[in-house]
């Protein structure tokens, strides 16, 4: 089976299922990307047409993935907040003035609760998809170049191996927005690199080049520009020499899903994401005219 979606497409080549991300500007993860990733997970759960490896890559020159779709997130928050304000204003006008302020504050709390609930649902769906990719029984390879930022970094961290083109840069810029990564990135980075490096990357928001990432053990191979997919295909062909059940068992033994830390990260993210400073930071982000305002 092949699929051509809005945000991603997949095709079979040899023993590999190749999944191409192609939603501009840089494969931001919003509702469209999430829906299609859920479709991919269903396909994997149905046996992925017998594929022995999954290769995830981007066909966009702009990079692998710049993270969550912050413009969509900001638009959602603003729309719900404005709708709630309008509803409250209509009621408050009819209330005596001493009660009016109380009603407005109560409405603001309700508005925040609704936003939080919606983000929570989105995060639950993301976690379900990323967990499924993490423990898929076949070998998974992320081929990355350019920005591998935020949610994009978190997506790459679900893969068994990362093949990085020289241009790849890994970064968790979330603290600039007043949040932490919320797609499972912290526990997965801790799993791969340990807490000290995770602290360095998170608490400074700095980016990491492909070569350094390979020295640290995050990246399996560094290859020249535009050579990532070819390298990943050779890795996939090699993995296909082994018995599928043996690969699945070995992977399940080698790669633990850090369940408790994933749940803790989700709770912490949801506590932080509805703070006023996040709304202000998102508004500032959207107002910026840079071509790619998420970059350092």
């Amino acid at each position: 089976m092949e699929l051509a979606g809005e945000a991603l497409s997949w095709t079979h080549r040899g023993d590999a299922l190749e999944v191409a991300l192609h939603r501009g500007p840089t494969n931001e993860i919003g509702t469209v990307m999430l829906r299609e990733l859920e479709g991919l997970v269903r396909y994997l759960e149905d046996g992925a047409g017998g594929a022995r490896a999954l290769i995830l890559h981007s066909t966009l020159a702009s990079g692998f993935c710049a993270g969550a779709d912050l413009r969509e997130l900001q638009a959602g928050i603003t729309e719900r907040t404005d709708r709630r304000k309008a509803q409250v204003s209509a009621v408050a006008e009819r209330l005596p003035s001493p009660v009016r302020g109380l009603a407005t504050r109560a409405a603001r709390r309700v508005g925040k609760h609704l936003v939080r609930r919606e983000i929570s649902q989105f995060i639950d769906r993301i976690h379900a998809v990323f967990d499924a990719l993490d423990r898929a029984p076949l070998l998974t390879i992320a081929v990355v170049h350019g920005p591998v930022f935020g949610g994009g970094f978190e997506l790459a961290l679900t893969a068994d191996l990362i093949v990085a083109e020289k241009s790849a840069r890994f970064c968790f810029p979330e603290l600039r927005l007043g949040i932490i990564p919320g797609f499972g990135g912290i526990p997965r980075l801790e799993r791969e690199l340990g807490n000290a490096m995770t602290r360095d990357l998170l608490l400074t928001g700095r980016s990491l080049g492909a070569r350094r990432a390979a020295e640290l053990g995050l990246v399996a191979q560094v290859v020249s520009r535009d050579k990532g997919l070819d390298s990943a295909r050779r890795v996939a062909a090699q993995a296909a020499r082994f018995d599928a059940e043996v690969v699945a068992q070995a992977k399940a033994f080698l790669k633990h899903v850090p369940r408790q830390r994933l749940d803790a990260e989700k709770r912490q993210f949801l506590r932080m994401v509805t703070e006023d400073r996040v709304e202000a930071a998102l508004t500032d982000f959207v107002a910026r005219t840079d071509v790619r305002p998420y970059l350092p």
């Binding site: 702009s62 350019g146 241009s167 400074t204 928001g205 700095r206 080049g209 071509v291 790619r292 350092p296």
Partner: protein, 80 residues
């Protein structure tokens, strides 16, 4: 020992490879973002070039206020 002028020569060479001949003649104190019209994605590429060419790791925040080759050379000199 690598001198500042060696570093500047190398920087101009790298920048001209990526951004064209204009970069080769750029004064060390000129704002290269403005002069070469570099966007944030190209700045990331330049950072990768620098790390590879000089075999150093430069955290982005060290370059946050750096806009000239002279400034870049000073950051690199500290790490060589």
């Amino acid at each position: 020992m690598t001198t500042t002028s060696d570093i500047l020569a190398r920087l101009r060479e790298l920048a001209s490879k990526r951004f064209g001949d204009k970069a080769a003649d750029l004064d060390a104190d000129v704002d290269f973002f403005e002069a070469l019209g570099i966007d944030s994605l190209q700045a990331l590429d330049l950072l990768t070039d620098l790390e590879e060419a000089f075999d150093v790791e430069v955290p982005d925040y060290e370059l946050a206020d750096v806009t000239t080759f002279a400034g870049l050379a000073a950051v690199l000199e500290d790490r060589l």
